[in-house]
């Protein structure tokens, strides 16, 4: 069976033509003291063997196709149309790299231009880059960018963003002396506490970050009031979105966001245990030169034909080095391509339908849980496809019993928000059907 290293068979010829008698001579510049003989790893396996081994590993996971999961927290199983998988499996796409030679990369370049355009339309922003690693790192970059633009060093965030995102943000800004301040959430609605925001919004603030819908699933109803608070300041308005919601919710561009970030995984990428992430990053055009990441521009070729290439590269690390707007190099391009195909496939109408279905399933799931009599609401705000409820019994026992029935319950929030005792963050998407809800309902009735 074949390997992957053709010249093993031509080794001797090639050595001869180099005037060498052994491969070792090619490594003679490595000090003997650190040369090793052999890695302590097993011998290589054939493809058939490795596939078998991996299938044993696979059998030790229970995928969300078999496990009915109502976990919230941002990641959820969305429907991925076959065409997305088929196109990102085109090896012209996935075996390419950063389009340094635009003439040989028009396909990916045009696709990324289209991706940027789609994100701009979705978010209502003027420009978008060609992807970041994930939402959390996008948030970090947004904070850095806010300071580059305003030269201020206080960045406001809601206290109720995911702890993962918060931690990444802290790590991104730590070195630059930016202070991250947290704004309370409104204990009644679950949205932002406007008074607390007002209190903290002074001239040292580089940017205000809000999530809409937020980590508790709440749709921010006072978004225009917030806009007004920020509008006349030099402070930037940074909005974190769930792109799926933008089929039915006003896009941040309409409430004058300066920077929009978000997690794009849901656009055609699998949950992948939290991988396959896609950092969405969009902003006003006037800030483009402070934007992190790769940007594709439309241009022309030597014959005047339309063409695409990377542009504004002088912001980037390979040109600007230590003074670059970001250190990002390899980004998450293929995931962006998946998102492009996904959005294209849905089209404007399909996107609306999906978005609406997520909202409606979100309402339905809450109803069912409340109907069971075992839960109570704790926030009055409207929610999209995630929400928080308080369980009236022992949360951990409940979750375990449900799991035994092949159903994964929501994410317990108490560990992250001690005030939210016995609460669970539930999530749902367009993939759930009536039968799934019924199954959940019966299971709850049985276990509690």
């Amino acid at each position: 069976m074949p390997g992957f290293i053709p010249n093993v068979s031509w080794k001797n010829d090639m050595l001869k033509s180099l005037g060498l008698s052994s491969i070792d001579e090619l490594f003679s510049d490595i000090p003997e003291k650190i040369r090793i003989d052999k890695l302590n790893l097993p011998k290589g396996l054939s493809q058939q063997e490795v596939e078998r081994e991996l299938s044993f590993l696979a059998d030790k996971n229970i995928s969300c196709k078999k496990l009915l999961s109502f976990l919230g927290g941002g990641v959820k199983p969305h429907y991925i149309p076959a065409i997305v998988k088929s196109i990102i499996s085109r090896s012209e796409f996935y075996t390419a790299y950063t389009p340094y030679q635009p003439e040989a990369s028009q396909g990916f370049l045009q696709a990324m231009f289209e991706y940027q355009s789609m994100i701009a339309e979705l978010t209502g922003m003027e420009v978008a880059n060609a992807s970041m690693y994930d939402a959390a790192t996008s948030l970090g970059e947004a904070a850095l960018m806010s300071t580059r633009i305003t030269h201020e060093k206080c960045f406001l965030i809601p206290e109720n963003i995911s702890w993962e995102r918060k931690s990444v943000l802290h790590n991104y800004v730590k070195g630059t002396g930016i202070e991250v301040k947290e704004i309370r959430y409104n204990r009644e609605t679950g949205g932002i506490d406007l008074d607390d925001l007002k209190k903290n919004l002074d001239d040292t603030v580089s940017g205000v970050y809000l999530e809409n819908p937020n980590f508790f699933g709440i749709i921010e109803e006072e978004i225009y009031e917030i806009q007004e608070l920020i509008e006349d300041r030099k402070t930037l308005f940074v909005v974190g979105i769930d792109p799926i919601s933008l089929g039915i919710l006003k896009p941040p561009g309409e409430y004058n966001a300066d920077i929009v970030i978000g997690e794009g995984r849901a656009l055609g990428n699998p949950m992948d245990f939290g991988g396959s992430s896609l950092g969405i990053f969009a902003c006003k055009k006037k800030y483009i030169r402070q934007m992190p990441g790769r940007i594709i521009g439309l241009t022309k070729d030597i014959n005047g034909n339309r063409a695409f290439c990377m542009t504004l590269q002088t912001r980037e690390q390979h040109i600007r080095r230590g003074k670059a707007t970001s250190n990002i190099c390899t980004n998450n391009g293929l995931n962006a391509l998946a998102a492009l195909v996904y959005i294209t496939w849905l089209g404007s109408d399909g996107f609306y339908d999906i978005s609406r279905r997520n909202f409606e399933n979100g309402q339905k799931l809450m109803e069912i849980l409340l109907d069971s009599g075992r839960f109570e609401r704790i926030f009055t705000g409207i929610h999209f496809n995630e929400f928080v409820l308080r369980y009236k019994g022992d949360v951990s026992k409940f979750n375990t019993l449900l799991l035994e029935k092949g159903i994964h319950s929501g994410l317990p929030l108490e560990a992250y928000f001690p005030e939210l005792k016995k609460t669970l963050l539930f999530g749902v998407t367009e993939v759930y059907g009536e039968d799934d809800f019924n199954r959940l309902y019966s299971a709850i009735m049985e276990v509690s």
Binding site: I5, L26, D29, I34, I36, L39, K43, G44, V50, L57, N61, S63, C64, S89, R90, Y94, T95, Y97, P102, E103, S105, Q106, F108, E114, S117, E121, S162, E164, S167, V168, N171, K174, G175, I248, L249, P251, M271, F273, G275, S276, S277, G297, L298, K300, D301, C309, T311, L312, H318, R320, R321, G322, N327, C329, T330, N332, L334, L337, G347, H408
Partner: protein, 486 residues
Amino acid sequence: MFRFARYNEPLIFELPSRETRERTPIPGIPRKIQRLKPISIPNIEEPRVARHFHHLSQMNYGVDTGIYPLGSCTMKYNPKICEEIARWEEFSCLHPHQDASTVQGILQMMYELEEMLVEITGMHAFTLQPAAGAHGELLGMLLTRAYHENNSDNNRKDVIIPDTAHGTNPASASIAGFNVIEIPSNKDGTVDVKLLKKSLSDKTACFMITNPNTLGIFEDNILEIAECVHDAGALLYYDGANMNAILGKARPGDMGFDIVHLNLHKTFSTPHGGGGPGSGPIGVNRELEEFLPIPRIIKEKNRYRFDYDKPKSIGKIKEFYGNISVLLKAYTYIKMMGYNGLRETSEIAVLNANYMKKKIVDSKRYELPYKQMRKHEFVLSCEKLKEEKNIRAADIAKRLLDYGLHAPTVYFPLIVKEALMIEPTETESKEDLDRYIDALIEIADEDVEKLKNAPYNTPIGRVDEVYATRNLILTWRDFKEEMSEK
């Protein structure tokens, strides 16, 4: 003769769209925050969507198209089996917060992958969280600071970096809040140890290098370097982008490195995805382990679980646990290669580079500045061609495309003028190397005018990158405006 496919493929926005339905307000959401004006994206039926991307794909060059010797990027063949396995739903359809009992397989994979990387690099522990090399570097810098702060050594604000370094190195250091001090290389193209010693001080947090360096030259003073860096109380950081040169031959851990990042999308054969996703795991020595991001994966009585109880951890660098599908591919790849295959990988990667290097240098068309012995890549200079015939590295690069060959990295590292940075990797055959060598030689002798206007066999001609910067058209909306102005 080779020729790219060419389609005059419109932008997706230019395709005929069926009419968008009117939106009716949705009960339960205040109208003012509802989106009632439809999103301006077209509605196109699936057949045309499929064709659109089919056409675009054929206008893109990948490793499956041909040799792709981008220096520093290790564009090697991506085994199809890895792609297939990463798509299995038992891996791809897992929620990051699923109960540990339902994800034992993936946790085991991650645990074992960390162990494999530990063995391959000689480090003490690994985290798989970073999404790419640069992301790993940033984490490395955060760990560096955490380490010094933990020692109450708060004055170490400098990171020293050789001038051959990749742009991400200084960028990562400076984003992490360090001052970057670049030191010039010596006449061999390696670290100027004397200069390094002079630059080191109690302000030095870290010295970042890659070995072999971006010229493809092994830093043979590495042990001395390590000693003096450590003597100065600083850490030594290994940019693992060039690890493909020394697998099973030498290990950064044994060289004295304290922090190492690997690029799974380079060395471990996971695809580059047209620009990602990648993966840049970080390995550290024993002292630094406690600062690694959470969660750590631990194994207790044959069960795997996440451990968040690491008070000194820097926290998180990515929302969850890394780019899992990339990790899976690397895991599968390493299992397939084994110790023998990995060693062979580097042996042949180095052989291929030296074979090309010799044949090209022998042709006398290009120069090879600095030391002659190279590892997995080498950097030519077209300086003479430029002076004699006004042929620039970019011209060579463009003309290569006409042969159906991807260009090398150009104009990097910065210390080589008119640089062509060639990294063939081990998955290319002698035949393909020979073809590349021949093309390079042929091109150097071609008519200058011909080169200046190259390429010809690509879907479009030479791209005007300056025009792009001058007329920032970054979205469909920009383009429409531009058109309506005309």
